[in-house]
């Protein structure tokens, strides 16, 4: 489509905004300088003809993989050519090149190289790092197996040390032990870091990491003893060759075990690692990325749905008047604006975890790890909370676009299928919630035994003071002011306290009934997940509220305050039962909350388009005909459809093959 002017509805929406979107973009990026640099990198990629290609929706899986590997190789070269080395800038570059999709070198760059850096000995680094840096070696990280994911101790692959040849013999002893899912394993990699149960001197020493060559350098053929391939089509991740790996008596030299920490000596003697606290840090870091990703994926879906809802006109609100924008319907606002508020909330939470992580990592080198357990517990829950919410939110955005949302041209199906695995990877969400719950129960026990706890759980300290009173702890009367975010934070705090206490009591009751601790835990796990969710919800409302004070521009602060209020009140409305049951709010107050949510929808309505513009997604990155910045939706849907593979010929071949013979016969 030739250059078209911006759709009149969108122009009107943008003119009516009460704040400057750029200022909000700066806040999301972390300052005007970061915005400038992001756009600079974006332009480097988008103006580069090497990174152009046909719409991926029209390509087969094989073709999409090919495009991805082509772009990835160019990307690695160009990153070095441009001297881009800052991790965040690399992330931007990669994200623009691959338009937010995964790519076959993800595991090489994101896991293989970093693992070499942190877990390889200097000798191993000499042997592997430079070849890997120069992509003569492409590696992946083979952890999950067909039979085991999040529960790592259950992995079954074995590495048995043979002192006579000074080699490890790797085996996949069962079908369930076949490595399954690692990205880049299927077709791309020639090496893998394999996690296996180490056996030496007849004893199992638990999971360790080994560098395993899997394909012949030069021919790329699998090595003898190695069975490797692609695991087949998935919901999304078409660009990624997630793979399987089966090893039959495959021998690697002793020196291929990553031995910076644990070691196996030539005679088979096992030397234990000093400490494994550092792995905590990596997990926190990766989970913080998922929180950020939840925010970004939901923001993209909101951008598409809100722009489209401003362009689409349907039905009538007032008899005799022209069809209104569908964004003017209360039900449409009720679907989309709480999600918009959620996207902003998650942005700020992601930034908080990242900052806290960087602050604490500073402490790790100086030896102060006291905050790490809490951050680790908190990020597990927040990873689950934000990815669940974003996952559902993306689907709501798609549904809000009606039939056209179902077309791949809307871009939302792609956002969804790319995002939804984050509910599973890096720790299955329910298991993550239960990790947070374990920390909450521990903190609760500390408080009941008279100790003070600190950080985000410090509200539990109040419980002991309430203990003398017979009623629910949280039933103390807080006067909740529904127009004041700070007061709502208190309400969320009370709810978390009540649900943590209730789960703890139920757990205790179960423990009194049966012998097995694990059984009692399992029988309380639904309550425990609810407690974790309430805790995370409180943290998010608290962080969003705290962010408001940092915003200097009054107009931006005003609109963010509206969003923060909507986020908090909508959450109360949706979970009204918790607040009612604990006596934090009365039925009359809940009715007021519901009413105020609807009033806020109308308040936010004029700024809705500007609020998604502030996310500042380039059209190429957004990949959506419905969400185009210029709003010229229908013309471009037609242009897009004409390129569909079914339209390659005027008369489809199946006419001659099937239809015509049938008509002749009947």
């Amino acid at each position: 489509a030739a250059a078209m002017s911006v759709n009149a509805d969108l122009r009107r929406e943008r003119a009516a905004a009460t704040f400057q979107p750029e200022l909000l973009t700066h806040i999301l990026d972390g300052g005007p300088e970061r915005t400038r640099r992001r756009k600079e990198i974006e332009a480097l990629v988008l103006n580069d003809p090497d990174f152009q290609h046909e719409d991926l929706n029209f390509l087969s899986r094989s073709q999409r993989y090919e495009q991805a590997i082509r772009k990835s190789s160019l990307m690695v070269m160009k990153l070095r050519e441009y001297g881009i080395a800052d991790p965040e800038e690399i992330y931007w570059f990669k994200s623009f090149v691959h338009r937010g999709r995964p790519e076959p070198l993800d595991l090489h760059l994101g896991m293989f190289l970093p693992t070499l850096l942190t877990q390889a000995t200097p000798e191993q680094q000499d042997r592997f790092f430079m070849p890997a840096w120069n992509l003569e070696i492409i590696g992946t990280y083979a952890q999950t197996e067909m039979g085991h994911g999040t529960h790592l101790r259950g992995l079954e692959t074995t590495a048995t040390y043979d002192p006579s040849t000074q080699e490890f013999i790797l085996n996949s002893p069962t079908v369930t032990s076949i490595k399954w899912w690692p990205g880049g394993l299927g077709k791309t990699s020639n090496h893998a870091i394999v996690l296996a149960q180490l056996y030496t001197q007849g004893q199992c020493k638990g999971l360790h990491a080994f560098i395993v060559p899997i394909r012949q350098l030069g021919t790329h053929e699998p090595l003898p003893g190695i069975t490797v391939g692609d695991i087949g089509p998935k919901f999304g991740y078409d660009e990624m060759d997630n793979g399987y790996l089966k090893m039959d008596n495959f021998r690697i030299p002793r020196e291929n075990m990553l031995m910076k920490y644990a070691q196996v000596e030539p005679d088979g003697t096992y030397v234990k690692p000093v400490s494994d606290k550092l792995t905590y840090g990596t997990m926190v870091f990766i989970r913080s990325l998922i929180v950020g990703d939840s925010a970004r994926s939901l923001s993209r879906a909101c951008t598409i749905a809100i722009r489209y809802s401003a362009v689409r006109h349907q039905s009538e609100l007032k008899p005799g008047e022209p069809e209104p924008q569908i964004l003017d319907y209360q039900t449409q606002q009720y679907k989309l604006f709480p999600l918009l508020a959620t996207a902003y909330a998650f942005h700020f939470v992601g930034a908080y975890i990242k900052d806290t992580y960087h602050r604490i990592s500073g402490d790790i080198s100086t030896g102060d790890l006291s905050e790490l357990p809490e951050l680790h517990a908190l990020t597990a829950g927040l990873k689950a909370f934000t990815s669940w919410t974003a996952n559902a939110g993306i689907e709501e955005c798609r549904m809000a676009c009606g039939g056209h949302g179902y077309s791949r041209c809307s871009g939302i199906p792609d956002i969804y299928v790319t995002f939804t695995p984050s509910c599973t990877y890096e720790g299955e969400n329910t298991v993550m919630m239960l990790q947070t719950a374990r920390f909450l129960m521990k903190s609760y026990t500390q408080v009941t035994s008279g100790q003070q706890v600190t950080g985000m759980v410090s509200y539990l300290n109040d419980l002991s003071r309430q203990r003398i009173q017979p009623q629910h702890v949280a039933a103390r009367t807080v006067t909740v002011r529904i127009n004041d975010p700070t007061s709502l934070v208190e309400a969320y705090k009370s709810r978390a306290a009540r649900l943590v206490e209730s789960a703890a009591k139920n757990l205790q009751a179960e423990l009194n009934h049966r012998k097995s601790k694990e059984d009692a835990w399992n029988r309380t796990s639904v309550d425990l997940v609810r407690a974790s969710e309430a805790h995370c919800h409180y943290v998010i409302v608290k962080l969003f509220t705290a962010k408001l004070a940092e915003v200097s521009d009054a107009a931006v602060r005003a609109v963010l305050t509206d969003l923060c209020l909507l986020y908090a009140l909508f959450g109360i409305s949706r979970n009204a039962g918790d607040f009612l049951q604990a006596g934090i709010l009365t039925s009359a107050q809940i009715t007021q909350v519901n009413q105020h949510v609807k009033e806020l929808l109308a308040v936010i309505r004029p700024n809705a388009v500007a609020l998604v513009d502030s996310f500042d997604f380039h059209d190429v990155h957004l990949g959506s005909v419905l969400g185009r910045y210029d709003g010229n939706v229908y013309e471009n849907m037609f242009e897009w459809a004409k390129k569909s593979p079914l339209n390659k010929t005027q008369v489809h071949e199946s006419f001659h093959k099937h239809l015509k013979p049938m008509q002749a016969k009947l």
Partner: protein
């Protein structure tokens, strides 16, 4: 051989699986016929879905056309006819993976909207597949709101023709199935103009492709609308009309006719037509909505007893993931919902059959109620089941994400049902309009239809439950659901009146209450579903353990609804905080009870392995072997050109350039 973890689940069933299957089918004879149809279809290699997950859009389309053509032959061979008892099982046996579904809609619309003469002309042609029909209603710019359609049909008295046009881009027909590549004819809905006056939307038969070489007719631009989340086998199409002339006789004229001189005549009652449209919403529930949820439950629950992960007790074997309370809490409510909606579907079918008999006797009294129920339940069931399939998908962790699990395709297919045949929010608002009207009538002492008489009996009582066992009493929970439905409807009605009395215009007041109205409509349907489930259980035979297990599922369905929406039940103090704790305790206890029968309960759905087409959900539970075998068949495991083209240079020399 059957995986022992799955075999052991079947040994302890508390009821007869075969009897439950017969109950679901509506009798043993029905089960027998269904199995025969499934067997005939699945044993025929043309209908195989084996490679489906590896195929491109073009390949899927071609396979669907091939199957549609072959089906004609098969039906003839087997002696199946469109009116025979086998017919309704064919679609299920094919898992809907067949082309020309819109051909039937084309035929139905001619039968319903056409004059006797038109029926006599077109139906034989369509039956013999001399032509292939489609149904072109939705446009780029308009879907559920039909009055907004922009295609025009202008009557030209001089030539006795209608001139059809797509006046602007948003008026282009968009989405109709079978239209992108296959159809030769379609029923086009357009605004009728005679002598410059608009008469609203009317249906016209338009030929779009040549019957000789299938090329597009003059003035027609048509094609495929491109890739979607699913339905790759269907060529959803676009259609652009430019001065396309069709004879006057091609306007379907059972209800409205244009005379040669341009006189517009209305005839007969449209109500029967209206009833037909309502029926479609109900008819899709079974095959398009319940079947996918049942399949998803079967896959996820079987997989959850085969998959072992982590330990529940130290020193023991790793536990089946279905033994984790959190996993039960994800899956078992979906299973209960599948049964609840199966029974509500039976209820609606029966009601509609009764309605049909009344309408044939020219009694249209039931229409508003039928319309409200079909709209509301279409929305509630599609939404609930879609969410349920997604929960099943995510409950299978990483492997659920593989297409080979079967779950992604079930999900992407079922979710389309939330949109077609009426967007769900709009449908719920239609139900709400009926509720408000009936509430006002009931308050004024006027009679109202049977499904809403409860609105008149506004009680301000409290929930009488004294302990957690009381929440297993259907009277207790049904009453609670009723209370919530009445409260939401009456509060919204009061709010609407307040707004109007304070001077807000009626339509503005309506828009300001729509969020609440949607909630009221949902609560109404939820109440009826619970009540119907409880009443169905009452009537079941007590033999073979069927009634007992269905009672558990009914309780679970009801208590899950309370547990996930506690606010609605606590509001206004109908249920106290202490009672809510009891309800929750009962709910969680039930999970462990139903857990024991979970596998037999999905076995009773009686899906064959071919029909599930899932590496995770097959009857024998050989999950991992199958996943490995199927993956090896993936085309990506043939040598890819990517290695020679991109990987090799990358591995060998790219970076040395730097």
């Amino acid at each position: 051989s059957v995986n022992p973890d799955l075999a052991s689940e079947r040994q302890t069933a508390s009821f007869s699986v075969e009897k439950l299957t017969a109950l679901l089918d509506g009798g043993t004879e029905q089960t027998r016929i269904r199995r025969a149809v499934v067997e005939a279809i699945e044993s025929d290699p043309v209908f195989s879905r084996e490679n489906q997950y590896f195929q491109t859009q073009n390949e899927r389309y071609e396979a669907a056309v091939r199957k549609a053509v072959h089906l004609q032959k098969k039906m003839h061979e087997m002696g199946w006819t469109e009116n025979g008892p086998e017919y309704k099982y064919i679609y299920r046996a094919l898992s809907g993976d067949v082309a020309f579904l819109l051909h039937r809609v084309f035929m139905r619309s001619i039968s319903v909207l056409g004059s006797d003469k038109q029926v006599a002309k077109w139906i034989p042609l369509a039956t013999q597949h001399k032509l292939i029909g489609s149904y072109a209603q939705t446009e780029l710019g308009h879907g559920t709101y039909l009055q907004g359609l922009e295609t025009t049909a202008v009557f030209d008295t001089a030539t006795q023709e209608f001139i059809l046009n797509t006046p602007k881009i948003s008026a282009m027909k968009w989405w109709p199935g079978d239209m992108g590549r296959s159809a030769t004819h379609t029923v086009v809905f357009a605004q009728l103009y005679i002598h410059g006056k608009c008469y609203g939307i009317h249906p016209f038969i338009v030929q779009i492709r040549s019957l000789q070489d299938h090329s597009l007719c003059p003035g027609i631009t048509a094609g495929d609308i491109g890739p979607k989340m699913n339905f790759e086998h269907i060529d959803n199409g676009y259609l652009l009309l430019k001065n396309v002339r069709i004879p006057r006789e091609n306007m379907l004229s059972k209800f409205c006719e244009v005379r040669p001189d341009g006189t517009y005549v209305r005839q007969g009652s449209q109500k029967i037509n209206y009833f037909t449209m309502t029926t479609v919403r109900i008819s899709l529930i079974s095959d398009e909505v319940l079947t996918p949820l049942m399949k998803a439950c079967a896959i996820a629950i079987r997989y959850s007893v085969v998959r072992r992960q982590s330990k529940l007790k130290p020193g023991e074997q790793e536990a089946k993931i279905l033994d984790y309370q959190t996993q039960q809490e994800k899956l078992l409510p979906q299973l209960a919902a599948a049964y609840a909606f199966h029974f509500i579907n039976d209820y609606l079918q029966e009601l509609f059959n009764r309605g049909y008999r009344e309408i044939q006797r020219k009694n249209f009294d039931m229409l508003p109620e039928l319309h409200a129920l079909s709209s509301g339940f279409k929305a509630v069931i599609t939404q609930h089941c879609t969410a349920g399939v997604e929960i099943c998908l995510r409950a299978c962790g990483g492997h659920g994400y593989s297409l080979l699990s079967g779950l992604p395709s079930l999900y992407t297919k079922i979710l389309a049902s939330c949109i077609y045949e009426g967007e769900n929010t709009i449908l719920l608002l239609q139900t709400a309009r009926f509720l408000i009207k009936c509430f006002m009538a009931a308050s004024a002492g006027q009679p109202v239809p049977p499904s809403v008489t409860y609105l008149a009996a506004v009680k301000h009582g409290k929930c009488p439950a004294k302990n957690k066992l009381d929440f297993l009493n259907p009277d207790i929970y049904t009453e609670a659901y009723q209370h919530v439905a009445v409260r939401l409807t009456s509060n919204t009605a009061a709010k609407l009146q307040d707004l109007i009395q304070s001077g807000v215009k009626k339509h503005d007041a309506w828009n300001q209450c729509t969020v609440q109205l949607v909630q009221a409509a949902k609560a109404h349907c939820h109440y009826i579903a619970v009540k119907n489930f409880a009443e169905t259980v009452e009537k079941l035979e007590t033999k073979a353990g069927i009634q007992k297990i269905m009672k558990h599922l009914c309780d679970l369905f009801a208590l899950h609804g309370i547990f996930s929406n506690t606010g609605a039940f606590l509001h206004d103090g109908y249920t106290s905080a202490a009672q809510m704790d009891m309800a929750t305790a009962s709910y969680l206890d039930l999970l462990a009870v139903i857990r024991k029968d979970a596998v037999p309960l999905v076995d009773a759905f009686d899906f064959t392995d071919k029909s599930l087409n899932s590496a995770l959900g097959s009857y024998d539970g050989q999950v991992y072997q199958r996943l490995y075998e199927w993956a090896q068949k993936s085309p990506t495991n043939q040598m890819s050109p990517a290695y020679e083209r991109y990987l090799k240079p990358l591995l060998h020399n790219t970076l040395s350039k730097l």
